[in-house]
């Protein structure tokens, strides 16, 4: 059957009969390869030309490409790294996304054979496969469509199976794979879809058989990227000090303007306008959000696969190295929070113990210890899944440490040097913070109540180091109020803070990094990953305090009733929820709110709250985690 190849491209097989057998084709290709070193490159060049078929390929072109690739697979030993450099670079330059499944299969087969046959090709083969984690730039938009998605599955399934085949044939391949993956990771300023699809592949590797070798590096690289993005989201333009006018007003207007302007002109504006910066921030926040979602989904699948404990160790290591000391970390730490919520017994406890260990260990730098205790305080307060016994035992540990510290200090110090004793003050503040959230629930349990009453809080808080004067006034006030209601202890002095958020003394102990106002697990403001966090998160509005008049039942039950009572779930905006007048007196709520947040009072009375719900992406919602905040 002499079918003529109806193609206008100079075909490799022009001279060759179509019904030639496979082995003859292989010999043909081998000859072409051999003749290059002898100076005759005609057939060789034609072969390269076949590799460069682009665009929509006609069926016979596809057939030619497939047969050429298969013939090359049969002639592996004839491929020389030097003489056939251009052929090799053509092959390695091919993107599987441009072809159909037949070509993909043939190409993958060739790549696997190349990698297994000669050590010199391994790196290039792995590199080619890693490059295929992401589609060509032009393809990125198609990913949203079903056809694009189908192609994505076709390509990635083959890429990952190829990687695992290569690992079977070349046992040391995973070792070479790691640096290649890290090197090719998209930059954080690249497009979001690009970053997301690459990280998807990284996480897929982590759960695969190769995960044993490359998994921990993949996770750590992901956390690094999270922090990189996190740090890029700037607070500076968003934070406003205590303005009477709703700050939301101003920002809303600006954004409207800027959007219209940008659409009209279609180019970027110079930095300077608040609106523009907030738009820029949004892109980074979106990327971070998407990556956090990927991370959370991955953790969930690890938990389902009963691998979470092992993965958690890597995560913890990564947390220590990357997140703990990155001061401006706003949301990345929620990955830890979510992981703990998936397995409170092991991971949840491990995290608390880990942080407490850092705090009490004297060999760590002061900043690390202060940061750790801030994480610990925020974690113990916000983790709905934490068993009360763990909270009590960790509190006891902190209290014991503070007491020991007090006992070591002697001498009549009339003036306070907050900076010298900053680790101590951060410990005290942590204790007070946790008790603000948990005191009621502890008092409601007989066993924990007795534990709490036995804790030597008084000697600490009445010590001449005077933590009540130095720590953040808003926290101290709330703590004292609750302590009084619970008859925990009383102070002779009355502290008049006038709803001060911070004082000079607190600033002094907080230092330049302002670790006095660091509450890392304040509500997560990223929209997409919030759904992972919310079910296990304690919002301040949910907390029953000791001075609440209400039923004397455990706060857990209370929260559930609270939840169901109005038929409205917590899922839609805490503010709308809290404004529901059936449950709370607005004044009392405001009173509570003011104590524990820096939300401008007027904003509540503004109908802008509803607008806020619509503008969930508004940077105004991204508040700095400078205080325990109520939504």
């Amino acid at each position: 059957m002499g079918v003529e190849l109806a193609t206008d491209r100079p075909g490799f097989y022009e001279m060759v009969d179509v019904d030639v057998s496979d082995s003859e084709l292989v010999y043909h290709v081998r000859d072409a390869l051999k003749s290059v070193s002898q100076g005759d490159s005609d057939h060789y060049n034609q072969l390269i030309a076949v590799m460069h078929y682009t665009g929509r390929l006609a069926p016979d072109e596809v057939a030619m490409l497939v047969t050429s690739l298969k013939a090359l697979s049969g002639s592996i030993s004839y491929i020389d790294i030097i003489h056939h450099e251009s052929l090799l670079s053509s092959i390695f330059g091919m993107s599987m996304w441009n072809y159909g499944p037949d070509v993909m299969d043939a190409l993958v087969e060739l790549i696997i054979s190349l990698a297994a046959s000669n050590g010199k090709f391994v790196d290039s083969c792995l590199d080619m496969l890693v490059r295929n984690f992401t589609p060509p730039k032009s393809y990125l938009d198609l990913l949203g469509h079903p056809r694009g998605l189908a192609r994505k599955h076709e390509v990635l399934d083959r890429v990952h199976s190829a990687l695992s085949h290569i690992a079977d044939l070349v046992p040391l391949a995973p070792m070479r794979l790691t640096p290649i993956i890290l090197q090719r990771m998209p930059h954080m300023f690249d497009k979001e879809t690009l970053i997301v699809i690459y990280v998807e592949s990284m996480l897929r590797l982590e759960s695969s058989a190769l995960g044993e070798f490359v998994g921990s590096t993949m996770l750590m690289a992901l956390v690094d990227r999270l922090i990189d993005l996190d740090v890029e989201i700037s607070w500076d333009d968003i934070v406003l000090e205590d303005s009477g006018k709703g700050i939301f007003d101003m920002e809303l207007e600006d954004v409207d303007d800027i959007i219209g302007y940008a659409e009209k002109d279609g180019f970027e504006h110079p930095r300077g306008t608040l609106g523009r910066q907030s738009l820029g921030t949004n892109a980074v926040a979106d990327k971070l959000d998407s990556l956090m979602v990927l991370a959370c989904e991955h953790l969930k699948s690890c938990a389902d696969g009963e691998r979470l404990t092992k993965v958690f160790e890597t995560l913890l290591q990564s947390f220590w190295v990357t997140i703990l000391n990155a001061y401006k970390s706003k949301f990345s730490q929620f990955v830890m929070f979510y992981a703990c919520s998936l397995d409170p017994e092991h991971c949840g406890e491990r995290f608390a113990v880990f942080l407490a260990d850092i705090f009490v260990c004297r060999t760590h730098p002061a900043l690390t210890r202060m940061s750790a205790v801030a994480y610990l305080a925020s974690y113990l307060s916000r983790g709905k899944f934490l068993p009360p016994s763990l909270i009590a035992s960790t509190l006891k540990r902190l209290v014991d440490w503070c007491l020991e510290y007090c006992q070591v200090q002697n001498g009549e110090e009339k003036t306070l040097y907050p900076e010298t004793h900053r680790v101590f003050y951060s410990g005290c503040q942590a204790i007070m913070y946790v008790l603000c959230f948990r005191m009621r629930s502890m008092m409601d349990s007989h066993r924990l109540k007795s534990q709490l009453l036995h804790m030597p809080l008084e000697p600490i808080f009445r010590h001449q180091l005077d933590p009540l004067k130095v720590c953040l006034p808003s926290i101290v006030e709330e703590f004292l109020r609750q302590a009084k209601a619970a008859h925990l202890f009383t102070v002779s002095e009355t502290f008049l803070f006038n709803n001060l958020l911070e004082s000079d003394l607190s600033k002094a102990f907080g230092g330049m990094e302002r670790l006095d106002m660091f509450f890392p697990f304040d509500p997560c403001l990223l929209k997409k990953c919030d759904r992972f966090i919310r079910p296990s998160f304690v919002y301040w509005s949910m907390v029953k305090t000791t001075y609440d008049e209400g039923e004397d039942c455990s706060s857990e039950e209370d929260i559930n009733e609270y939840f169901d009572g109005n038929g409205k779930s917590y899922m839609d905006g805490g503010i709308t929820r809290s404004l529901d007048e059936h449950d709370l007196d607005l004044d009392e709520f405001e009173c509570q709110l003011n104590k524990m947040s820096i939300t401008p009072r007027n904003s509540l009375k503004n109908g802008l709250i509803n607008k806020l719900e619509n503008y969930m992406r508004m940077p105004a919602r991204i508040r700095p985690s400078t205080s325990p905040e109520s939504l």
Binding site: V26, S73, S113, G119, D168, P171, L172, R176
Partner: protein
Amino acid sequence: MEGLNVADANLAVYIHPSKAGKVSQAILRQLSTLLFKYIEVFDGVVLAYDVTFRDKNAKVLPGINSYFGVKLKAKMLLFSPKPDMLLEGKVVKLGKEALHVIVLGFSSACIAEEDIREEFHYRIKHGEEVFASTSHRRHVIKVGSMITFSVKSFDEEILHISGSLIPENTGSTKWLHKHVEEGSIVERSIKKQKQKDDRSKMQEHCTGILDNAGLSLNAEDQPKKTKSQRII
């Protein structure tokens, strides 16, 4: 199997002062970075090591970072395949054009079609791809079989071996053992001596890796007379 030898080395490991409290751990960690890498000084790939301290004192280096050098004596198990050596490995992939083998569980080897002697023909037997010998019916190589092959070249960076099945004493290891009497008596005694030496070396210094790689010398199908050669 050739290519494995035990070397005695005098080493000095330099340790950062922060590890002064856990010196052994630091030394082992430092030495473990050598594993499965080709080290030029040793002229081989380090598979295992066993250390003893030569000196209780260590010399502190002058300079900003005052590393201190601990002197050690180490026995290293090295893998250094040279051309024409006979190695054993497990077949993991079999195709008409090439045979892919893994040696000792970490080193990949490839035997190309032109390096397989005429005796072996590619066939599909019972749906399975095999290389079957035309002169000996039972001499068959398939995926999962252990084969003995000779080394053509060794890529030190990726630890990849290029092998050959051309020499007569290559092929399926199981079959070669069983038919050892087919070779000359001289060959047989040399081979046995080599096996004895290698086995004794390996049984002294073997780690689990070798067992996992399914080295045939530990296989059950040993002819009974070699039991006496095993060193307990």
